[in-house]
Amino acid sequence: MAAQLLNGLTEGMMLFLIASGLTLIFGITRIVNFAHGSLYMLGAFLAYHLMPMLGGSTVASFASAVLLSAILVGLLGLVFEVLILRRIYGADDLLQLIITLALVLILRDVVKAIWGANDISVPMPASLSGALQIGGTFLPLFQIVAFAVGLVVITLMVSIMRFTRAGVLLRAATDDRGMVALLGINQAWIFSSVFAVGCFLAGLAGALAAPFGNVNYLLDTNIIVMAFVVVVIGGLGSLSGALIAALSVGMVKGLGVIYFPRLSTVLIFLIMAAVLVIRSLGRGAISK
């Protein structure tokens, strides 16, 4: 059981990496970005494509491929925001939803056209392929690295939000987008940069996780569902909530495999439903 919990914790941090960008984008722009999983998938494919060009499966080339993929995905997000999303802010929420759904369709097909429909395996850098043994438990080095990256991401994001002017601006824009402009700040760029950073995080998570598993064009749907579950459980827009939710979901999943194996598929949805229902028990639910 300790093994499952420990493993769940590291798995949870990978979930957090996936969810962080989604919750960031929602928190500031109120956009429910259904394309988040697709951007994750794109990050993974880009890492696959870039690693050989950057020197093969060494840690250095992997690290630079991850960073470069994340940046490219972030740039794509920026372009998408500037060219398309920006035109429909303030329109019906459903329109934004449809636009991001369209992006899902487009990215899926583009990935298929470039890299084919077959599964792809990104080679694991040799020095990351081992495992730490704690007691009788194996902890793959790779998950530990992902855990560390997750910690760095959350620390950076929290510090930026709390202590930098950029963070203050972001929170101000969350409160009242229009007023930010009336203080001489080009709010369009706040949204663009938040969207780009959110996409960067999606690309980062995808590229980082690429060597750890399979990469194919179906990754988008599998990832987006998990990302939403985590973000919803943590409270939409809340970074710390997403962290707690991701770690808890990881651990509950680990325990679920042992204690209620047949629920494995439905478990996360049961948790999400339960969290939402419990949250609604207060009287003020309609005042949200």
């Binding site: 636009i99 369709l105 487009i106 939403f228 598929t265 939402l276």
Partner: protein
């Protein structure tokens, strides 16, 4: 859709009847397509009703479509009930599901409402997928009946069009009834409605049950049409299709779902037959539609003065 004037009621009846009769004269291929369009039109309209009148955006509407299909198919295939009874049980199952899920979901609003409906429909999907001893799992339920009760595509198309027209007339009637006003009132200003003595959650629950039952009717008709039932019918893909239909049809009334279904079903069918990379094409078309006609097809018709079903749109800041 306003039915305040008697003649518009007659007009609707005449158009529906005309459409149903027209079905009988089509080739079998186009009749099959028309049937699919009609069923999806009902499904999208029920979602449009929930969104535009009830103020509730659901990401899990497929749950009721799936329950309608499985309620019917299980009754016919596993319980061996006569088809006429199974056909009634389908929508009834969906209605029961809507009571249960609705009671949970109406406690929440906005995106949280949407997410809980998504969770509910995923739970339905998973149960259908995993309880294969009863539901056939991913293999679904097949071969338990002749598709369309063995009717010819044309006759079934006529039947479907007639039933869908009746359901839409029912929706239109609801909208113009006391209940419809209550649903719109709660959908728009729940606090104001509560302070007038409405129980917002109860009214919303009733709206969910109406929409769920109509979605269940669509699901049952689809199951009869296909002669099968698969867990996919409760999958998020069907919900997304319906959301797209509601949006491209025009988001300010349930009738937008009808336009949306016609366009989207035909678009998806023909684009996926014509292009290898059909998802890319559909994606680009969707973006173009949203950017060019943000008010959907209904909004476009309104702008061109072709539709008098005007409901002023747009947010107004006090």
């Amino acid at each position: 859709m306003s039915f305040e004037h008697v003649q518009s009621r007659w007009l609707f009846a005449a158009v529906s009847l005309g459409l149903a009769v027209a079905m009988l004269m089509l080739g079998p291929g186009i009749a099959l397509l028309a049937t699919e369009v009609a069923i999806m039109a009902l499904f999208a309209s029920s979602l449009g009703f929930l969104i535009n009148y009830g103020g509730m955006v659901s990401f899990g509407h497929a749950a009721y479509f799936g329950l309608g299909a499985y309620g019917f198919a299980l009754a016919a295939a596993k319980l061996g009930l006569p088809l006429w009874l199974a056909v009634v049980l389908g929508p009834l199952t969906a209605a029961l599901g809507a009571v249960l899920f609705g009671a949970l979901c109406v406690r929440l609003t906005h995106i949280y409402f949407a997410m809980l409906t998504l969770a509910c429909s995923e739970i339905v999907f998973t149960v259908l997928f995993q309880a294969y001893d009863y539901t056939g799992g991913d293999n679904g339920l097949t071969n338990f009946m002749a598709p369309r009760f063995g009717l010819s595509p044309q006759i079934y198309a006529a039947l479907t069009v007639a039933i869908v027209a009746l359901c839409i007339a029912f929706l239109a009637r609801i909208v113009r009834s006391p209940l419809g006003l209550a649903i719109q009132a709660v959908g728009e200003e729940p606090h104001r409605a509560a302070a007038l003595g409405f129980s917002p959650r109860l009214v919303q629950l009733v709206a969910c049950v109406i929409a769920g039952t109509l979605a269940g009717i669509a699901g049952t008709m689809y199951s009869v049409f296909q002669g099968n039932a698969f867990p996919d019918y409760a999958g998020v893909g069907i919900t997304i299709d319906a959301l797209v239909m509601v949006v491209i049809g025009g988001v300010k009334g349930f009738y937008g779902g009808v336009f949306g279904a016609i366009i989207y079903v035909l678009l998806k069918t023909f684009v996926s037959r014509a292009f290898t990379h059909w998802e890319l094409v559909i994606g680009l078309i969707l973006i173009a539609v949203v950017l060019i006609f943000p008010t959907g097809i209904a909004g476009l018709l309104q702008k061109l003065g072709l539709s008098r079903t005007a409901r002023p749109s747009g947010e107004q800041h006090p």
